[in-house]
C-alpha cells in the first residue's frame, strides 16, 4: 500500500504512454480468502499481502470504497481480479508482480477480452467531452496509434472513424487535456471523457500585474526559469545576453559587481529612459538590484515586450518590462534545503597590449621627425639601447605598467543556502546568499591600506505566505541586499586609463628603497612648473574607499477571494517599501614623487645617482567624513480580479489602482493611475485581450497629467481547429498572435537633462555669470539665469507598438516562437537643435516634444528537448534578436546634404569620412581634394578622404554614414545545449552580437598637447606608417606628436572603423549528481571570437577587463 501512496503523476503518465498489456501469466501460487463483503481497497490489501503484488492506479479514478463480495480458494490472480472488477468499468492487467488498474472510458462494462485477429473494416463513432463539466470538446483529435489515420470532433464533440480489426488503440487528444488512449476491441461507440491536463492548462505565465494561463496569452512575452541564468558570476545581468529573444544586453566592464545595460527590443528613444522597467515580485527595482539577486531564488523571469503586455504600466512601460518572480514554498511539503558552495578563479583576458620602452622611444623619435625633420629627437640612440638592454631600470626605465599593477587572476567565492516548504497554512522560502569577489589590483604588502577590489554581497530573500482563511491569504516578501566593498576611490576606468596616459620610459614606477626614506619612492617627471606626470601606480595605490550599501525591499500582499459574491472574483492589495542607503568614506595619501637628479648618475658607479624630490607626499592617511546617499520608494496597488469559465468561454478581468513615489531628493517623483485588463477566449482557441493604463505623472501641468494608453491583442490557435487534424503529427501546436497599442514614458528628456517640472520656467538665482569690480576685483556679484523655459504643451513620450507573433510546437519536441514588431516612439522631448546660437538662448534653448523614432525587429527562439534514451536527455536552445531603429524626426539644422542629417538614420551608426587609404606621394596630395580645412599640413602617409560632394575640398559635408551599424549591436543571439546522461550533466552556452561596429578614436600614441603623455599600443607600434617602408597594410597613418599636426588623421573615418561582431563562448558546465546533491565545474567567458583583435570587442581599452572564470561548486539537497 505504501507504494500506492508513492505513486506520482509522472508514473501515471509513463503508464499511459507505455505499452499496455492485458495478458500475463499467473506467476504465483493461489490466493485464499473467504468470501465476505469488503471494499475494493480491502481486497487489494489482501492480494498484496498474500501474493506479494503491487497495485498501480490513479487514486481518483478507481472507486476503492465499492463493496464487493468475493472469496478465493487457491484462485489465480486473474480469476480474483475478474471477480472483483467485473461490471465496475475498471480494467486491470497483471505484469509480473505488478497489477495495473485503470478505469475504463466506456460506460458499459467491458471486461478485457482476447485479441481477435479480425481484419474487417468498421466504423466507430463517439463523443469527446470534458471530464469536469461534461461539455463536448470541439476539435479534439482522434488518431489510430501507429498510423496516420485520424479525425477530429465536430461542433458537438462527435466523431466517427474507420478502423480495421480490433486491438487497435486510439489516442484522443485536445489542447489543454491529457491524451487519452482507448483500446478498441469490439466497441462501436466510444464516449471519451478527457481529463484537463493541468500541466498544460494550468501553466501560467507572469504578465503585467498578474498571471495568465499560457494558452491564453496573446502578448509578446518571453520567459525563462531562474536556473537558466545560473552562471559563475556575481552579476546576474552579465548572463542576460543571448538568453532571451528580445533582450539586447551590453557589458561594459568586468569590475566586481558591475551591471550590464540591457534593453528590451533595443533602444527606441534618444531623449528619455531607455532601460526597461524591472519588477521584482510586482515592485520596481533598479538594474543593480536585479544584478544582486541570486539566480537560485528566481522562479521565473518574464520579459513583456509589446504594448498588450506593457500598456498596464502605461506610465513607464514603453521600454518593455522585465518581471522577476521569486520562489515560494509549496503547501504541505516538508522542508527542502539546498546548499551551494562555489569557488572561482578569474583570469582577466583580452587586454590591450602596449609596446615596450625601446619600441616606444624609437616610435616617438620617428613621430617627431615625421613632422619636423630638423627637430632635436627626444631620445638618443644611447638612451634607446640602454633601455632595450635594461642597463639601469632607474635611469632608463622600461615599465610594463599592466604587469606591475595587476595580478594575473583573482578569486571569488559564493555560498547559497535556501530552505523552502510549507504546512497547511503557511508556506515559506528563505534564501541567504553570500558572494565574495576579489579584484586584480596588485597592492604591495604592508602598504598603508589594501585598496584592491573586495566586495562582499549578502542577499536575503524571504517569502512567507499565510492562509488566514480558506479565502484569504497574506504574504510577505522581503529582499535585502547588503554590500560591503573596498576599492580605490578613483574609478576603475581611470586606473586603466592611466596606463594609456603614460609612457613606459618616462620614469620608473617606484625607485628602489633607499636609506633615509621611509615611504615609497614613486617616480615622476616635471610636466611644467609645479605640475608632474601622474604615476599610474601611485594613482592606483593612493586612494581607498569603503562603501556600505543596504537595500531593503519589503512587500505585503493581501489576497481575498470573493467567491461568495460571485465565483472567480477576488481582490488583492500590495504595499511596498523599497529603501536604499549607501554610505562611504575615502582615504587618501598624496604620493612622494621623485626623479633622478639630472647629472647625478655615474655609469661607473651606478648606485650613486641622487633622487630629486619633486612632490612632497603625505606621511599620514587623510580620511574623509562619511558621505551618504539614500532613496526610497513607496508603492501601493489594489486590484480586483475576476477569473471564470462559462463552459468553454473563459473570461478574466482585472482592474488596478496604483500609486508610487520615488524620492531621492527633496521633490519626489510620483505616478498614479488606473489600469485594467480583460481577456476572453473560447476553447482556448480564439483569444481576445484588452489592456489599458490611465496614468499620471507629476512632471506635467495639472489637467494634462493623465493619459490613456489602450492596447488590444488577438490570438488564434488553428491547431485546435478540426481541420488541423491531418497536420497534427507535424505541427501539434500553433498560435498566431497580434497586438497593437500605446504605451508611455514619463521620463522623457531625463537623459538629456530636461527639467523635472516641464510646465514651469526654471530660474537659477545664481546660475549666471559672475563679475568682479573694484581695483582688485573685490566686489563680486553673480547674475541669475534661466535654466529652462517651460515646455509648450509638454507631454509624455509615447510609443505606438505593433506586434505579430507565432508560437508553435513541432513533433512534440521543438518549440518555436517568432515575433515581428514595429514600434514608433513619438513626442520625445529634445532641445531645439535647430536654434542658431545667434538667438542668444545659451543653455536655456527651449525644449519641445518633437522627436520621433521608429524601431522594428524580429525575434526567434527555438527549443528542442528530447529524451533520447532512458538515460540520455538532450536539450538544445537558441534565440535570435534583430532590432533596427531610426530617427523619424529629430530637430536638426537644415543640412545642405541629405547624408549629413540624422533623420532617417539609425540611432547607433558610424559617421565619418570615407578614407581612401594613405597618401602615397606628393603628387597624389597635390592632385587630390584640398584637405587643408583640418589645418594640419598634409604629408605622405596621412589619410586621404573622399570628396563626396565634389567641391574639391574636404569639409564636414563630406562626412557620410559609413555604416548603419554602430556600437549597439543590431543582432544578438545565443545558443547552447545541455545533455544529461545518467548522473552526468553537461552544458555549454554561446552568445554573440552581430552587425556591430566600433570607431577607434583618440588613440594618439604620443599626444603632447594635453597634460599627460600617451602610451603606444602594440597594434600601432606594429603597424604604423614608416617613411620608405612598404606601408600597404599600415594600421596607423604617419605619426605626429601634436594634435595640430595630425588633426587630419584624427577625424572619424572608415580608416578607424572596425567590425566588432563577436561570438562569446560564454559558459560551460560539467556536473555529476549524487543522491544528496551535485558537484560541478563550470567556466564563464571561455573565449571570444571576433574580427576585432586589439582588446575585448565589447569593452573599451580602459575598462576593467572581463575575466575567464573557472568555478568549482557543490550543491547539497536535503
Amino acid at each position: 500500500m505504501k507504494k500506492v501512496i508513492l505513486m506520482s503523476l509522472l508514473c501515471v503518465l509513463a503508464l499511459i504512454l507505455s505499452e499496455w498489456s492485458v495478458y500475463s501469466q499467473s506467476p504465483a501460487s493461489g490466493l485464499n480468502f473467504p468470501a465476505e463483503s469488503r471494499t475494493v481497497a480491502e481486497v487489494i490489501r489482501l492480494i498484496e499481502q498474500q501474493g506479494g503484488y503491487s497495485f498501480f492506479y490513479q487514486t481518483n479514478t478507481i472507486d476503492l470504497s465499492r463493496k464487493v463480495t468475493v472469496g478465493a480458494s487457491n484462485d489465480t490472480i486473474e480469476n480474483v481480479l475478474t471477480k472483483v472488477f467485473q461490471g465496475s468499468g475498471d480494467e486491470w492487467s497483471v505484469s509480473d508482480k505488478q497489477i495495473y488498474l485503470k478505469h475504463s472510458v466506456q460506460a458499459a462494462p467491458n471486461p478485457p477480452q482476447e485479441k481477435k485477429n479480425n481484419k474487417a473494416k468498421r466504423n466507430i463513432t463517439g463523443t469527446v467531452v470534458d471530464a469536469t463539466d461534461g461539455l463536448p470538446i470541439i476539435g479534439a483529435g482522434i488518431q489510430i496509434k501507429g498510423s496516420k489515420v485520424g479525425t477530429v470532433t465536430d461542433l458537438d464533440g462527435n466523431f466517427n472513424i474507420d478502423i480495421t480489426g480490433s486491438g487497435v488503440e486510439l489516442i484522443i487528444s485536445a489542447l489543454g487535456y491529457k491524451d487519452l488512449p482507448v483500446f478498441i476491441t469490439d466497441q462501436g461507440i466510444i464516449d471519451a471523457k478527457l481529463e484537463p491536463d493541468n500541466e498544460v492548462l494550468s501553466e501560467v505565465v507572469v504578465v503585467g500585474a498578474g498571471t495568465q494561463r499560457r494558452v491564453s496569452v496573446t502578448g509578446a512575452i518571453a520567459a525563462i526559469d531562474g536556473t537558466t541564468l545560473v552562471a559563475p558570476t556575481s552579476s546576474l545581468t552579465n548572463t542576460l545576453a543571448g538568453k532571451l529573444a528580445g533582450v539586447i544586453a551590453v557589458t561594459s566592464s568586468g569590475q566586481p559587481g558591475s551591471t550590464s545595460d540591457f534593453y528590451i527590443r533595443g533602444i527606441s528613444t534618444f531623449g528619455g529612459r531607455t532601460a526597461p522597467l524591472i519588477l521584482l515580485d510586482g515592485v520596481e527595482i533598479t538594474t543593480s538590484d536585479l544584478n544582486n539577486i541570486p539566480a537560485e531564488s528566481i522562479e521565473s523571469f518574464s520579459i513583456l515586450k509589446d504594448a498588450s503586455a506593457t500598456a498596464i504600466y502605461g506610465a513607464r512601460g514603453a521600454n518593455g518590462v522585465m518581471i522577476v518572480t521569486t520562489k515560494t514554498g509549496s503547501e504541505n511539503t516538508k522542508a527542502k534545503i539546498n546548499v551551494t558552495v562555489e569557488s572561482s578563479v578569474l583570469q582577466p583576458v583580452n587586454i590591450v597590449e602596449y609596446a615596450d620602452g625601446a619600441t616606444f622611444m624609437e616610435a616617438y623619435n620617428n613621430a617627431q621627425l615625421a613632422r619636423n625633420p630638423n627637430a632635436e629627437v627626444r631620445y638618443s640612440q644611447t638612451d634607446i639601447d640602454n633601455t632595450r638592454n635594461g642597463v639601469h631600470p632607474s635611469i632608463w626605465p622600461d615599465v610594463d605598467w599592466y604587469d606591475l599593477m595587476f595580478k594575473d587572476f583573482s578569486m571569488s567565492q559564493r555560498a547559497n543556502v535556501n530552505v523552502s516548504g510549507g504546512g497547511s497554512h503557511v508556506t515559506y522560502y528563505m534564501s541567504l546568499q553570500m558572494n565574495h569577489d576579489g579584484g586584480i589590483l596588485d597592492v604591495p604588502q604592508n602598504y598603508s591600506f589594501n585598496n584592491n577590489y573586495n566586495r562582499w554581497l549578502y542577499t536575503f530573500q524571504n517569502n512567507i505566505g499565510y492562509q488566514i482563511s480558506p479565502s484569504t491569504k497574506m504574504s510577505l516578501k522581503m529582499n535585502a541586499q547588503i554590500i560591503s566593498q573596498t576599492s580605490p576611490s578613483t574609478s576603475a576606468n581611470s586606473i586603466f586609463q592611466a596606463i594609456y596616459n603614460n609612457t613606459p620610459v618616462s620614469f620608473p614606477a617606484i625607485f628602489p628603497e633607499q636609506e633615509g626614506y621611509d615611504h615609497l619612492l614613486f617616480g615622476s617627471q616635471i610636466m611644467s612648473a609645479g605640475r608632474f606626470y601622474t604615476n599610474p601606480y601611485a594613482n592606483m595605490l593612493n586612494t581607498f574607499q569603503e562603501t556600505n550599501t543596504n537595500k531593503l525591499n519589503i512587500s505585503v500582499t493581501l489576497n481575498q477571494k470573493l467567491d461568495f459574491i460571485t465565483e472567480g472574483l477576488s481582490v488583492n492589495a500590495l504595499v511596498n517599501f523599497n529603501n536604499y542607503a549607501s554610505t562611504w568614506y575615502t582615504r587618501s595619501l598624496s604620493p612622494y614623487l621623485y626623479n633622478v637628479l639630472p647629472g647625478s648618475y655615474d655609469p661607473v658607479n651606478p648606485t650613486t645617482y641622487r633622487l630629486n624630490e619633486l612632490q612632497v607626499g603625505t606621511e599620514y592617511v587623510s580620511q574623509s567624513g562619511i558621505s551618504t546617499s539614500t532613496n526610497n520608494t513607496f508603492y501601493l496597488d489594489g486590484r480586483i480580479n475576476y477569473d471564470r469559465s462559462f463552459g468553454h468561454h473563459n473570461v478574466t478581468a482585472m482592474l488596478m489602482y496604483m500609486m508610487r513615489q520615488y524620492r531621492s531628493g527633496v521633490l519626489p517623483n510620483r505616478n498614479q493611475g488606473f489600469s485594467g485588463r480583460f481577456t476572453y477566449d473560447w476553447y482556448n482557441r480564439y483569444l481576445v485581450e484588452l489592456n489599458f493604463g490611465y496614468n499620471g505623472t507629476e512632471r506635467l501641468a495639472e489637467g494634462e497629467r493623465f493619459e490613456f494608453f489602450p492596447a488590444i491583442s488577438l490570438g488564434w490557435v488553428p491547431s485546435s481547429e478540426p481541420f488541423w487534424q491531418p497536420l497534427r503529427p507535424v505541427v501539434d501546436y500553433l498560435k498566431f498572435r497580434g497586438s497593437y497599442g500605446l504605451v508611455g514614458s514619463d521620463e522623457t528628456g531625463s537623459s538629456a537633462g530636461a527639467a523635472h517640472f516641464l510646465y514651469e520656467n526654471t530660474v537659477s538665482m545664481s546660475g549666471g555669470m559672475t563679475f568682479r569690480t573694484g581695483y582688485s576685483g573685490g566686489t563680486a556679484r553673480t547674475g541669475p539665469s534661466v535654466t529652462a523655459y517651460a515646455v509648450e504643451g509638454a507631454h509624455w513620450e509615447r510609443a505606438k507598438e505593433l506586434d505579430l507573433g507565432v508560437d508553435m510546437e513541432l513533433f512534440e519536441q521543438v518549440n518555436i516562437t517568432l515575433d515581428w514588431y514595429y514600434n514608433q516612439r513619438e513626442r520625445i522631448l529634445m532641445k531645439r537643435a535647430s536654434f542658431p546660437k545667434s538667438l542668444g538662448y545659451a543653455s536655456s534653448v527651449p525644449w519641445s516634444n518633437i522627436g520621433k523614432v521608429d524601431n522594428t525587429g524580429l525575434e526567434l527562439s527555438v527549443k528542442w528537448k528530447k529524451q533520447i534514451t532512458k538515460d540520455l536527455l538532450v536539450d538544445l536552445r537558441g534565440n535570435f534578436t534583430y532590432a533596427k531603429n531610426k530617427y523619424i524626426y529629430v530637430d536638426e539644422p537644415d543640412y545642405p546634404y541629405v547624408w549629413q542629417t540624422e533623420t532617417g538614420k539609425p540611432l547607433s551608426r558610424m559617421t565619418g569620412y570615407i578614407a581612401e587609404g594613405l597618401f602615397q606621394s606628393e603628387e597624389e596630395i597635390a592632385t587630390s581634394a584640398d584637405q587643408s580645412s583640418f589645418g594640419s599640413s598634409i604629408m605622405v602617409g596621412d589619410i586621404k578622404y573622399r570628396d563626396v560632394n565634389g567641391d574639391g575640398k574636404i569639409t564636414t559635408v563630406d562626412q557620410v554614414m559609413l555604416s548603419p551599424y554602430g556600437s549597439m549591436p543590431r543582432i544578438q543571439y545565443g545558443f547552447g545545449c545541455s545533455i544529461n546522461w545518467k548522473k552526468f550533466d553537461f552544458s555549454v552556452y554561446f552568445n554573440g552580437s552581430a552587425l556591430r561596429n566600433i570607431m577607434l578614436s583618440g588613440f594618439e600614441p604620443f599626444i603632447a598637447d594635453d597634460s599627460n603623455d600617451h602610451n603606444l599600443m602594440k597594434w600601432i607600434a606594429d603597424g604604423y606608417w614608416r617613411e620608405g617602408a612598404d606601408n600597404t597594410n599600415a594600421t596607423y597613418p604617419r605619426l605626429g606628436l601634436l594634435k595640430s599636426n595630425i588633426y587630419n588623421n584624427r577625424q572619424p573615418s572608415s580608416f578607424w572603423m572596425r567590425r566588432a561582431d563577436f561570438l562569446r563562448f560564454k559558459t560551460i558546465e560539467i556536473g555529476w549528481s549524487f543522491p544528496f546533491g551535485r558537484v560541478y565545474l563550470n567556466g564563464d567567458n571561455i573565449a571570444v571570437w571576433s574580427p576585432f583583435k586589439y582588446w575585448d570587442p565589447e569593452l573599451s581599452y580602459y575598462s576593467y577587463p572581463l575575466s575567464r572564470t573557472f568555478n568549482l561548486g557543490v550543491q547539497f539537497k536535503f
Binding site: 498614479q672 507629476e698 549666471g768 555669470m769 559672475t770 563679475f771 581695483y775 582688485s776 534661466v786 545667434s838
Partner: protein, 650 residues
C-alpha cells in the same frame, strides 16, 4: 459589495487627486529675477560676467584676436585658439568637430552675452519691483553699453553680423531669424546704443567698487574705436570679396548688400569727430597718460631697484631711461588708486595665466624644488616683434642708420653679459619694458627680491630641456614677454609661493593712449597732418623716444599713417589690437604667412651661442589663408538659419 468597491475606488481617487501636485516650494520664475535694486544689480553683473568668466570676451594670448597675431607665438603643444588661427585651422569643420561651437567659440559667447543683456533689459522693463528710477536708467544704459561692446566684438571678428536687439520668442519661425546686417548698419546700431548709453552714465567711476563698469567716456572711446574700424580700408571700399552678400535677408536700406564697395571719406571724418570727442571727454574727466611721477612713488614704496638695461649705466640720462622702463611696466599693472589715470575701461581678472605663460621656466631654486622652479616660459615674441620695436632713435632698427647693420644683429654686443646680441642693445624703453631676451634681466626682484637674468641657452635655466622642463613648456623664439607681469611680483623660494595675491590690477580694455593713436590715424586720413603728429607725439614723448615732426617724417620717407601704424604696433603690443590692425589694412598676406614667422633657434638642448642666435623659421604649421580676414560662423548657424551666410572662402 461591488458598490462598496466602487465607492472606495472613487473615494481613493478623490482623496488622492492632488497626489501628483508635487508643488515645488516657492520657486524662482522669470519675474523673480529682479525683485529689488540688489537683484537688479546682480542681473546686471551677470551681463558683465561674459567679459571676465572663463568665457573671455576680451583679447589675451589664448584668444583668437589676442594670440592670433605676428606679435608672439607659443608652443604648438598649447594649442590655444590664438595659435590655431595662425595655423589657419579654425574652420567651420574644426569648430564643429571639436565642440568649440557650443562653448568656447566667440560667436557663441558674443550672442549668449547679447541674449543675456536682452533678457536683462526685458526683465528691467517688465519688472513690477520698485527700482530706484535713477539706478534703473543707469543699469539700462550699462546693459546697452555691453550690448554695444558684444556686438562690436562680433562685428570686428565675424564681419557683418546679426543684430539681436530683443530676446526673440521661443517659437520663432525659421524665416524670422535675423541674418547678417550690412556692416555700416551694424556700426550705426552700435554707435546709437553707445550714444544713448553715454547720456545716462557717469563720466568716471563714482567709487573704486564701480571700477570695471561702463562710463560715458568708455562709451565715447569705444565709439571712436568702432568708427575707426568702419573707416578702415577693409570696411571702406576695399573688402576683398566684392560678391559676398546675403541670399535672402535684407538690411533695411541696404538690400542684400553686406559691405559697401565704395570708399567714403566721410567715414574717416566721422571717426575723427568721434575720436576728438572721446579724447576731449576723457581729458575733461581727468584721464591722463601714466607717467614716471606716479610710477616712481610705487617703485620706491615697493622697494624695487631700477632695472638693469644693457648698455645703460647710472648716468642721469640712463637713470631716466631706466625709470621710463619701470614706468611702462607699471603702466599696465596699476590701478587708479595708485595713480594710474590712463585706463578708461579696465576690468579686474585673475591674470595668472598670462603671467605664467610669460615668465621663464626657471626663476629660482626653492625648498620643494631645489632643482629649479619657475613658470611656463612659452609666450614668445617673434623676431618680427623684436625687430619692430623702435631703437632709441624712435624708428625701427632697419630704418635707423645709427643702429648696427642687419648682418651684425645676431652677434654679441660684447657687454658684461656676453650673451646679449647687438639687436637687443640701443633699443627704446618700451622694448626693455616688455620684451625679454638672452642675457637680459627679467625683473629686478622676481627671484626672492633678487634679479633674474634670462639664460635662454642654459638647459638648467631658461634654455630648452625637455628632460628637465617637460616637452610642452619651452620658449619658441628665444624671447620672452614681460608685458602684464607686475614689476613687484616675486617668488619667495619657500613652498613655491609668490606674492601675486597682493598684485591685482585691472586689465585695460580702453586706455587713453589708444585714443591719441586713433585720432592720429584719422588725422592722417583726413589731411590734418599737424594735429596728427601732435597726437602721436603725446605717446612718443611719454615713451621716451624722439618726437616726430613733419620734417623728420619726410626725411625718413614715412607718411604719418606709416608712423601711426608703427607706433600702434609698439605701444599697443599684446593688447589685442594687432589682429584687427592687420585685417583693417588687409595686410594678412604680408604679415601672417609662414615666411613671416622667425625666431632664434631656441628649441635645442644646450645650443652654442652661434647656434642659438641663428634666425630660423618657427617650426609650426603657420599659414595665411585669405579667408582669415573674417572668422567663420559655426556650420550649424548656416544650416539652422536660412538667412545666414557663411563668411567668404570657408
Amino acid at each position: 459589495m461591488k458598490k462598496i468597491l466602487y465607492t472606495a475606488a472613487v473615494l481613493l481617487c478623490v482623496a488622492s487627486c492632488n497626489y501628483l501636485s508635487v508643488v515645488p516650494p516657492e520657486q524662482a520664475d522669470l519675474d523673480d529675477m529682479i525683485s529689488d535694486n540688489a537683484t537688479a544689480l546682480n542681473h546686471l553683473y551677470g551681463c558683465y560676467g561674459y567679459m571676465q568668466d572663463e568665457i573671455r570676451l576680451f583679447p589675451d594670448f589664448t584668444s583668437i584676436d589676442g594670440g592670433g597675431t605676428d606679435e608672439t607665438v607659443s608652443p604648438q603643444e598649447w594649442g590655444h585658439l590664438g595659435s590655431l588661427v595662425k595655423y589657419s585651422m579654425l574652420t567651420p569643420e574644426y569648430i564643429t568637430a571639436t565642440g568649440l561651437a557650443t562653448n568656447r567659440y566667440p560667436w557663441t559667447n558674443c550672442y549668449n552675452a547679447i541674449g543675456y543683456c536682452n533678457l536683462f533689459l526685458k526683465n528691467m522693463e517688465e519688472t513690477k519691483a520698485e527700482i530706484d528710477p535713477e539706478l534703473r536708467q543707469q543699469y539700462v544704459a550699462e546693459a546697452q553699453f555691453l550690448k554695444a561692446y558684444y556686438h562690436y566684438k562680433a562685428l570686428a571678428m565675424f564681419g557683418p553680423c546679426p543684430i539681436s536687439d530683443k530676446l526673440l520668442p521661443t517659437n520663432i519661425a525659421k524665416e524670422d531669424i535675423p541674418g547678417r546686417s550690412h556692416f555700416d548698419y551694424c556700426v550705426d546700431y552700435i554707435v546709437n546704443l553707445l550714444d544713448e548709453a553715454a547720456q545716462s552714465l557717469p563720466s568716471v567711476d563714482p567709487g573704486p567698487d564701480y571700477s570695471g563698469r561702463a562710463t560715458s567716456v568708455a562709451c565715447k572711446a569705444l565709439k571712436a574705436r568702432v568708427l575707426l574700424l568702419a573707416a578702415s580700408p577693409m570696411w571702406n571700399g576695399s573688402f576683398p570679396d566684392k560678391s559676398w552678400q546675403n541670399t535672402t535677408f535684407e538690411t533695411p536700406g541696404y538690400g542684400k548688400e553686406l559691405v559697401s564697395p565704395t570708399f567714403s571719406q566721410q567715414k574717416w571724418e566721422r571717426a575723427r569727430t568721434a575720436a576728438t570727442e572721446a579724447l576731449t571727454a576723457a581729458l575733461n574727466a581727468g584721464f591722463e597718460l601714466f607717467g614716471t611721477e606716479a610710477s616712481e612713488i610705487l617703485r620706491t614704496n615697493q622697494n624695487i631697484p631700477l632695472p638693469s638695461i644693457p648698455g645703460k649705466e647710472d648716468t642721469e640720462e640712463d637713470i631716466r631711461f631706466r625709470t621710463l622702463v619701470m614706468m611702462l611696466r607699471y603702466m599696465m599693472t596699476t590701478n587708479p588708486a595708485e595713480g594710474n589715470r590712463e585706463v578708461i575701461w579696465g576690468i579686474s581678472r585673475m591674470e595668472g595665466q598670462y603671467r605664467m605663460a610669460s615668465m621663464p621656466h626657471y626663476i629660482l631654486n626653492t625648498d620643494v624644488q631645489p632643482n629649479g622652479y619657475g613658470a611656463w616660459g612659452g609666450l614668445s615674441p617673434t623676431l618680427y616683434t623684436v625687430q619692430h620695436f623702435f631703437t632709441e632713435n624712435g624708428v625701427i632698427p632697419e630704418e635707423d642708420s645709427e643702429f648696427p647693420s642687419k648682418s651684425d644683429w645676431y652677434t654679441s654686443a660684447e657687454l658684461a653679459e656676453p650673451d646679449i646680441i647687438k639687436l637687443n642693445v640701443g633699443r627704446e624703453p618700451r622694448f626693455y619694458a616688455w620684451v625679454a631676451f638672452d642675457g637680459c634681466e627679467y625683473s629686478p626682484v622676481i627671484a626672492n627680491r633678487q634679479p633674474l637674468i634670462c639664460h635662454m641657452r642654459d638647459p638648467q635655466q631658461g634654455g630648452y630641456n625637455s628632460a628637465k622642463w617637460g616637452t610642452r613648456n619651452y620658449c619658441v623664439t628665444g624671447f620672452l614677454n614681460i608685458k602684464w607681469v607686475h614689476p613687484n611680483l616675486y617668488y619667495t623660494g619657500v613652498s613655491n609661493k609668490n606674492n601675486s595675491a597682493d598684485l591685482y590690477y585691472p586689465v585695460c580694455l580702453l586706455r587713453l593712449a589708444e585714443l591719441y593713436l586713433i585720432l592720429a590715424e584719422c588725422d592722417a586720413w583726413t589731411g590734418n597732418e599737424a594735429e596728427g603728429i601732435q597726437a602721436l607725439n603725446e605717446i612718443r614723448r611719454r615713451a621716451g623716444v624722439p618726437e616726430w615732426t613733419e620734417e623728420s617724417l619726410s626725411k625718413a620717407g614715412k607718411t604719418l599713417l606709416d608712423a601711426v601704424l608703427d607706433e600702434r604696433f609698439v605701444e599697443l603690443y599684446q593688447e589685442g589690437h594687432r589682429y584687427y590692425d592687420i585685417r583693417r589694412y588687409l595686410h594678412g598676406k604680408e604679415q601672417m604667412g609662414r615666411q613671416n614667422f622667425w625666431g632664434l633657434d631656441a628649441v635645442r638642448t644646450g645650443p652654442s651661442f652661434e647656434e642659438f642666435n641663428t634666425p630660423v623659421l618657427i617650426p609650426q604649421p603657420i599659414q595665411w589663408h585669405e579667408r582669415q580676414y573674417l572668422m567663420p560662423v559655426p556650420n550649424d548657424e548656416v544650416y539652422s538659419n536660412p538667412q545666414m551666410v557663411q563668411a567668404p572662402l570657408y
